[in-house]
């Protein structure tokens, strides 16, 4: 399936899907397989191949030329050259018309783009094409050393960085690309390929660290903390962020010390088939697994962890995803002595009924998507929307509404753990989400609060088919190949915005939008925008268009392109 078709499919069926990430993913997979086939545009070999394209590749941080950068030109065939010692390149014998140009060099990326991704610029070749300047931003890196309390190097420790990234318009902490490195026998590490930004350096010396006397089995009463943040603290809040500018090489010395370690054991309660259950694990605030048990009994649900350093941990257990009743159980455990008989129980969860109502005006049947992979999900005629709730506290925790075992015609969210959640609704038919409510709470605006031991009012979803149509034109001189358009629903502030891609002419059209007020913004780069932050949005106020979409109506709007770095 070609990528454009994939996008179109998602646009129609899941309006809330995050297009930015999808596009980035596709770009990366193409970059990884440079040999893969693309159907070529049949470009006739023109006799007027007399034009020249020249330019310079410069280091965006220093302004200096970048020698030996690879410049690739695709149009009627592919050509590639390396820049000379002055960073200059030139292609001759070109025909008039558009060509695509890409630049890359190890140790650099395109400004605003993650490692290994490539950006294609479209250039018009002709008699007036002047000298072009392509910018590359140098990677930053952190080198350093991990040592123990006796200043001996720690070998085999896992080092990674945590950075703030924007997901669904919010800032959150993540390990970019999930990359990590190991310390060598001198305790040294090199973390390269970082875009400029603030990073928290993390060291996991736990079970991976080798050859440090007394580090493991030898001294069962002590162990390194599961994670230590630069410069040597165990809680994320006290960590010192390393602020890197483009091309900077920072050095970080991390010192780790052993702390008392304790045993942790217990069991999962309930009449469950533990063979379908992922063994309990300790998770960090980023949703990453930090420690796993030594023993996990799939007959009884009993578990036992190896001695763990003192600390406060989130213990979690998860049912393997199947077509019904996926669940998570979590529990916070303070480990300052040996703790046994910790229990996790489904009884701690709350079951929330879910209903989907349609208020359809059209008489003809609504079409369901015809994808084969949907076999396991409930019938879209019976349940015209997928409903899930995502924990605001624990990143990896989400629940999907599934038909009740006893009453398969009704949906519910079983065993939901106490906490705060965002509700996501994905219509499976051509419709928009009119409202999502639980009792008097408007879940398009507010979070769902699940109290411990308390009941939660049923979640009621209303879908309608009298959606609005919008036509957007992105206005700019020298339009990029793709402009990235953000539609922020003002009536549903806690819902992800819609991100769409405009064609090279700057146009796009979108149907089945919920009526209401929207902010419309267009960006040059597909970078995630922190649209949930009013301060960030204020910056773009001058280039934000506002539209009100009436039911069954159609609206056109022109929006000015926001350039990179604006």
């Amino acid at each position: 399936m070609n990528s454009r078709r994939v996008l179109a499919y998602f646009e129609r069926t899941f309006p809330m899907v995050r297009h930015f990430r999808l596009t980035a993913l596709i770009a990366m997979s193409l970059a990884a397989w440079p040999q893969s086939a693309h159907a070529a545009q049949s470009a006739p070999k023109a006799p007027d191949a007399i034009y020249k394209l020249e330019g310079t590749v410069v280091n965006a941080a220093t302004g200096r030329p970048v020698p030996r950068a690879l410049v690739e030109l695709t149009g009627a065939g592919k050509r590639a050259v390396l820049t000379d010692s002055q960073g200059e390149f030139s292609f001759d014998k070109l025909s008039k018309g558009p060509v695509k140009i890409q630049v890359e060099k190890p140790g650099f990326f395109e400004p605003g783009i993650r490692r290994d991704a490539k950006v294609t610029h479209t250039i018009e070749v002709g008699p007036e094409s002047g000298k072009m300047v392509l910018k590359l931003e140098p990677e930053s890196m952190i080198t350093g050393q991990v040592t123990d309390e006796s200043r001996d190097p720690v070998e085999g420790a896992i080092v990674d960085v945590i950075a703030e990234q924007i997901v669904d318009g919010r800032r959150q902490l993540q390990t970019p690309d999930g990359r990590n490195v190991h310390t060598d026998d001198d305790g040294r590490f090199l973390m390269a390929g970082l875009p400029p930004g603030k990073y928290i350096l993390r060291v996991k010396a736990g079970n991976g660290a080798r050859r440090s006397p007394g580090g493991q089995a030898g001294n069962a009463g002590q162990s390194y903390p599961l994670q230590v943040f630069f410069p040597g603290v165990t809680d994320l809040a006290s960590a010192t962020a390393i602020d890197l500018v483009a091309g900077q090489h920072a050095h970080a010395q991390v010192s780790i010390s052993k702390v008392p370690a304790f045993k942790l054991s217990g069991s999962v309660l309930g009449n469950l088939d533990f063979r379908n259950v992922v063994q309990p694990a300790i998770f960090d605030a980023l949703g990453e697994r930090l420690a796993m048990p030594d023993h996990w009994d799939t007959r009884t649900g009993a578990f036992e962890f190896p001695p763990l350093p003192a600390g406060v941990y989130t213990l979690q257990i998860q049912q393997l995803p199947d077509d019904r009743h996926e669940w998570f159980l979590t529990r916070t455990v303070t480990l300052n002595r040996d703790v046994s008989r910790v229990t996790l129980s489904q009884a701690a969860g709350v079951s929330i009924p879910v209903s989907v109502r349609t208020e359809f005006t059209a008489t003809e049947a609504k079409d369901c998507p015809s994808s084969g992979s949907e076999g396991k999900t409930p019938n879209c005629k019976q349940f015209p929307a997928g409903i899930s709730i995502v924990s605001s506290d624990l990143k990896q925790m989400m629940f999907h509404a599934t038909p009740e075992k006893a009453e398969p015609s009704t949906l519910s969210l079983p065993y939901v753990m106490p906490g705060k959640y965002r509700v996501e609704v994905h219509p499976k038919v051509r419709a928009y989400v009119r409202s999502v409510r639980s009792g008097t709470t408007d879940l398009l605006r507010e979070e769902l609060v699940v109290p411990a031991g308390g009941a939660v009012s049923p979640i009621e979803v209303v879908l309608r088919d009298d959606g609005a149509k919008v036509k957007i034109h992105v206005a700019a001189e020298n339009l990029p190949q793709q402009a990235h358009v953000l539609l922020v629903p003002e009536f549903a502030p806690n819902q992800p915005a819609l991100t769409l891609t405009a064609s090279s002419s700057g146009d796009l059209q979108y149907d089945d939008l919920a009526p209401g007020d929207y902010k419309v913004l267009a960006f040059e780069s597909p970078e995630e925008i922190e649209y949930q932050n009013p301060d960030v949005m204020r910056k773009y106020a001058g280039k934000t268009a506002r539209i009100t979409l009436p039911a069954k109506g159609s609206t056109s709007v022109t929006v000015e392109l926001i350039r990179q770095g604006e």
Binding site: Q35, A39, P106, D152, D184, P213, A217, N219
Partner: protein, 568 residues
């Protein structure tokens, strides 16, 4: 049923099992009940004889790696484990800056500590050797770091002649082009690097596919077999190579691109050696291969030959030029081996080609191998119906290739791919407890011992006689009636050159004892050699001068033997 290439993995598994760990050769023993024996001694630096503090000493019953206890030596380097029951124990030591090793460790062997009445196990001297390392930078023709290059480590065996893969077999360069091999024993090493010019541009391919309906689609790039399926016509065109169609040869430290001219790296005890390598691009070679029909499900492997018989994987992804034509691009000078195998109308087919890539990317000395069919009749003596899974193996000499076929209780089997003409193979059996190869006869090929020489295209028929009941030998190595610990014991079969699988060695324990289990019945000579660890022990010529002083022994089926061997 089919395991033609599983032998490669099997050999890898053997290599892994030989990594220096606790002396795991001895049979498992019950966990120690408490007793009043002890194991103790002092850890010293092998050269300075100074005691070493902060050494982590691990002790466990021999053959049981999970029931271990650990202690850390103090200033005087002393250690004592007490309250032990009589038995055999494995002892190992680790300290930062020293090679982690088992007691008296030699290659993958070590001495177990035997504890019991009248045995002194509390005055051990555990010598540790400072570890070395090799690290360096890989840079390209302009002095820029080469990222993600593959760096191989080869090691000269103790005999100083054979080259083999190092324990930490390879590393890859980081974003600054650095690589690092740590925890190395002193010795002679070679480092080679395989890198790909990050900017390389293989020539463009244009593929024109005419489908069954006559619709023509142009593709820039290669096209997968699925797209070509059902195509009426496939035309492809390759553009002429550009200046960026280059490759880096596998380059050794010192700059040689030929393993025979490589500069060895001498790592002394505790020495950290720096070895930088510069990669120079050469015009990339292109090699094409036409798959035999049907082209689907045809597996391919391209390897480069280094030193004598070491094969490293070259470029994993060929591209497809039209129907059934594969093209490997980006090869630099060297000797390559290509293997392809898959289904054919008459069963299965295997192809093997070897070629050299010359200095300018030209293909030279291409040879193509014919495969000779091999079938085997299996008989048990005394007659028995094998219930277990037994594999009949044909192991190619000087390579990690070969064929392995599961018999599944059948008495007539045929190797689906056959064997290479002009090659030597050792016949062996694997699996099935106590099963051994009693005799083998061949028609269509010359057989010496268990070594098969495939001379011509005549189909080969093997008659294999299997028997059950391997024997065992327990012994003690003595010099003037005094047991010697840490001596090398070699079990030499009759005609060792053609029975390499039967040639084995062990190391004596702290009380001079040793044992061989699962010994294939036959005539042997046992040799005990003190300080023999530098010998090329697998070479019959080297062993010749010790044979006269060896202890002959004939092992019968299911026989158990106890011997005393004089240490030479």
């Amino acid at each position: 049923m089919l395991r033609q290439f599983a032998v490669v993995c099997l050999f890898a598994a053997i290599t892994l099992a030989q990594q220096p760990q606790a002396a795991g050769r001895a049979p498992a023993e019950p966990p120690p009940a408490s007793g009043n024996f002890q194991i103790g001694g002092v850890v010293v630096d092998v050269d300075s004889h100074q005691p070493l503090a902060a050494v982590r000493i691990t002790l466990g019953p021999a053959g049981k790696s999970d029931a271990v206890t650990t202690l850390i030596t103090g200033e005087a380097g002393r250690f004592t484990f007490s309250g032990l029951a009589a038995g055999k124990y494995a002892l190992s030591a680790q300290r930062r800056g020293y090679v982690a090793q088992s007691f008296n460790q030699r290659d993958s062997l070590s001495s177990s500590i035997v504890v019991g009445p009248n045995l002194d196990s509390s005055h051990l001297v555990f010598s540790l050797v400072l570890e070395g390392g090799i690290s360096g930078s890989i840079v390209d023709e302009q002095g820029e770091a080469v990222r993600m290059a593959f760096v191989y480590l080869f090691q000269c065996a103790a005999d100083g002649r054979t080259v083999r893969r190092g324990y930490s077999e390879f590393a890859s360069t980081d974003d600054e082009g650095h690589y690092h091999f740590s925890h190395l024993r002193a010795g002679r090493y070679y480092v080679a690097v395989r890198g790909i010019p990050w900017y390389r541009q293989p020539p463009q391919i244009h593929t024109k596919v005419t489908d069954a309906q006559g619709v023509v689609t142009d593709y820039s790039g290669d096209v997968d077999e699925a797209t070509l399926k059902g195509a009426q016509k496939v035309d492809y065109e390759e553009e002429p190579p550009t200046a960026l169609d280059v490759a880096y040869p596998v380059t050794f430290y010192g700059g040689a691109t030929d393993s025979s001219a490589a500069t060895p790296i001498l790592v002394g005890k505790g020495e950290k050696v720096s070895a930088d390598i510069v990669l120079q691009p050469v015009p990339a070679a292109h090699w094409q291969f036409t798959q035999p029909p049907p082209a689907e499900h045809f597996a391919v492997l391209l390897e480069q030959r280094l030193f004598d018989g070491i094969l490293v994987q070259a470029f994993p992804m060929p591209r497809r030029l039209g129907h059934g034509v594969l093209e490997y691009t980006g090869m630099a000078p060297g000797h390559f081996r290509f293997d392809g195998w898959g289904p054919s109308p008459s069963g299965r087919i295997m192809v093997h080609e070897e070629f050299d890539v010359g200095a300018n990317g030209e293909i030279e000395k291409q040879t193509s191998t014919t495969y000779v069919p091999v079938s085997a009749t299996i008989r048990f003596e005394p007659p028995a119906a094998p219930t277990e899974s037994i594999n009949l193996q044909l192991r190619q000499k000087n390579s990690n290739h070969g064929a392995s076929l599961r018999m599944n209780g059948k008495s007539e089997i045929e190797f689906p791919y056959g064997v290479e003409r002009g090659s030597f193979y050792e016949v062996a059996v694997d699996g099935g407890s106590g099963i051994y190869l009693r005799s083998v006869q061949a028609t269509g090929a010359k057989l010496t011992g268990h070594m098969l020489e495939v001379k011509d295209d005549s189909p080969i028929k093997l008659t294999v006689v299997l028997a059950t009941g391997r024997g065992s030998i327990a012994g003690v190595a003595v010099r003037e009636d005094k047991p010697i610990a840490g001596a090398m014991i070699v079990l030499v079969p009759a005609d060792p050159g053609n029975n390499t699988r039967l040639l084995r060695r062990e190391e004596t324990n702290s009380d001079g004892s040793f044992s061989f289990t699962d010994v294939v019945p036959g005539r042997y000579t046992l040799l005990a050699i003190d300080d023999g660890w530098e010998l090329e022990w697998t070479n019959p010529v080297v062993l010749e001068k010790y044979m006269a002083q060896g202890e002959p022994i004939t092992v019968e089926a299911k026989g158990k033997y106890s011997v005393k061997v004089k240490v030479q």
